[in-house]
């Protein structure tokens, strides 16, 4: 699910196109800093719980490092490394003044009580407080971490360093969070698609058909905005199952159902459909919005959509990516498409530093500017260098990071 190797694969592909030396490649891939800490807490039953926390800071040539903190048993140094570098390239593609980082704790939070989760989070902050900070490294929510966890981090860090809301993003609205943060990724995904369709002369979202895999934060907000733009969402699936209606699902009703039931399965407005069948539906746009590695060598040939919109991180394996490309399917890559989340995180950080809050219109219009500017640059590279959007995105990112690195000097 990490896609860490895929990140390196796509990076190397772009590096080959740019004919970078292996030594320069190694310099760009090597993380700035890797930290592994003991996070021990007393559990509610009095026993000692010991967990391992990680933080990888990949690159800070363009600014403080930024990236999520996840609580998941699969978290380890390898995964954090790949994802930290992905954040470096992603922030560079949308031109945010940030570098990349990632980390978390190897733990299944479902087995911890909220009090234990709070102690765990505070203990982790105590262990890494000297390497994070508003001008060093700014964590954000990720797998199994949410606004409440960010609030604890802000509080614990502020106890040690004084009032510092800008040390994390994705905070609750009532505690220096930003308007539009929750829906940011989904909004950005639809903005990305709109830009591409208009530029490629392929019309608009209105009237197009969509199949979405994943209906968590990103999937559900993507569905919401597609519906708002007149798109026809014909199928949605999540871990609990799927639902399908050939003439379009009633998205607001589906959102209500999913909120109540915790899954899209069992929605009365559609027929059941499996995840595999959803990938092979005859739709205009396929939107993987949940897990990594869902479009593989095994099922890429079944994809009938002409556009794959990567709302999730690393949903397409490198082999599948090549298969789709040879079949003429346009893949709009994750490092640009889902960068809306980190972009609004950046706005949250800016507002915290300004001690001023922006209204939703400003958030939306600034997000649109970043997504559009990024697209204009990517489209130019695609046209001039005859590469895929994904390779173009890595080329742009490597260029920006490399120019900052060499201007600062090593």
């Amino acid at each position: 699910m990490s896609g860490a190797e895929d990140v390196n694969y796509y990076f190397r592909k772009a590096a080959r196109v740019m004919d970078l030396s292996t030594r320069v490649e190694r310099m760009l891939v090597t993380p700035f800093r890797e930290v592994k800490v003991d996070v021990s807490i007393t559990l509610d039953n009095g026993e000692l719980g010991t967990f391992i926390g990680y933080r990888v800071q990949h690159d800070n040539s363009r600014g403080p490092m930024k990236g999520g903190l996840r609580y998941h048993p699969s978290v380890d140094m390898d995964e954090a490394q790949g994802l930290a570098s992905l954040m470096t390239w992603k922030t560079a593609v949308v031109n945010l003044p940030f570098g990349g980082a990632k980390g978390g704790i190897a733990v299944d939070p479902a087995r911890l009580t909220p009090r234990e989760q709070e102690r765990l989070t505070r203990r982790f902050v105590q262990q890494i407080h000297d390497i994070i900070g508003p001008q060093r490294d700014i964590p954000a929510p990720d797998v199994n971490t949410n606004a409440q966890v960010m609030a604890w981090i802000m509080d614990e860090y502020s106890r040690m360093h004084g009032f510092s809301p800008a040390v994390v993003t994705g905070k609750p609205l009532d505690l220096f969070g930003s308007r539009g943060r929750e829906e940011a990724t989904g909004r950005g995904v639809v903005m990305a698609l709109t830009e591409y369709l208009a530029d490629a002369g392929r019309g608009a979202v209105r009237g197009k058909t969509f199949a979405l895999q994943g209906f968590g934060n990103v999937g559900s907000w993507t569905a919401h905005f597609l519906h708002e733009h007149g798109g026809q969402v014909v199928a949605v699936a999540d871990a609990g199952g799927g639902t399908h209606a050939a003439d379009g699902l009633d998205v607001p009703a589906l959102l209500d159902h999913a909120r109540a039931a915790g899954t899209v399965a069992g929605f009365v407005g559609g027929e059941a459909i499996t995840n595999e069948a959803l990938l092979a539906l005859d739709v205009d746009v396929l939107v993987p919005a949940a897990l990594g590695g869902v479009i593989t060598e095994a099922n890429a040939a079944d994809v009938r959509a002409s556009i794959v919109l990567e709302a999730a991180n690393a949903p397409t394996t490198p082999k599948a990516d090549e298969l789709l490309q040879t079949r003429g399917v346009t893949v709009l890559p994750d490092i640009w498409v889902n960068a809306g989340g980190v972009t609004v995180s950046y706005f949250e950080w800016v507002q915290n530093i300004q001690q001023f809050s922006w209204d939703e219109d400003r958030i939306t219009s600034e997000l649109g500017r970043h997504m559009r500017d990024a697209y204009a640059t990517l489209a130019r590279v695609v046209r001039e260098r005859k590469v895929s959007f994904r390779t173009a995105a890595y080329i742009v990112a490597i260029g920006r990071v490399g120019r900052a690195t060499t201007l600062r000097g090593v």
């Binding site: 740019m18 320069v24 640059t377 080329i395 490399g402 120019r403 060499t406």
Partner: protein, 175 residues
Amino acid sequence: MRGSEATKVVRSVLCRGLTHEQTDQIVSAMVPVTVEPGALVLREGERGQGLLVLLEGSVEIVKRGVDGHEVPIATAEAPSVLGEMGLITDRPHSATVRALTPCSFNLLTRSQFDRLLKGESLAAYKVVATLAEVIAWRLSRMDDKVVELARRRDCPPPVEELAAFKQKLFSEWNF
């Protein structure tokens, strides 16, 4: 330096494996020479007088580069042998030797050496063998130097690699 000490030095650098009588034969064919600091001992391009055994002091060896400037090659300290090529071949000196401190030498002129060879002096032939050893050692050091220079030219230092990367990003890959 007293004659007996000079004999010891000559023996250590030039007459290893010679009997005392043979060493005396070589030493008695030599003439003592002293040089002030800064003075030239040998001049590049000039016909050699013969071989010099540096008994005391230190010298620097310099060679004229293609641009006419002198490039220091090495320094040598007593005890050492200089001008050995001039004893065997008729070629002019390949480098200039300048005294860094007050130096004293024993000079074995070519004509004296030729006389010993003509007289089928075993001592002289043994000296030739020692010189061959000295020349072989200096040649192998030269080989190392050539390899080092070639390597330096093949791969540019890392700073240049980074500069090339920067140049590439600001020209060919600037979007």
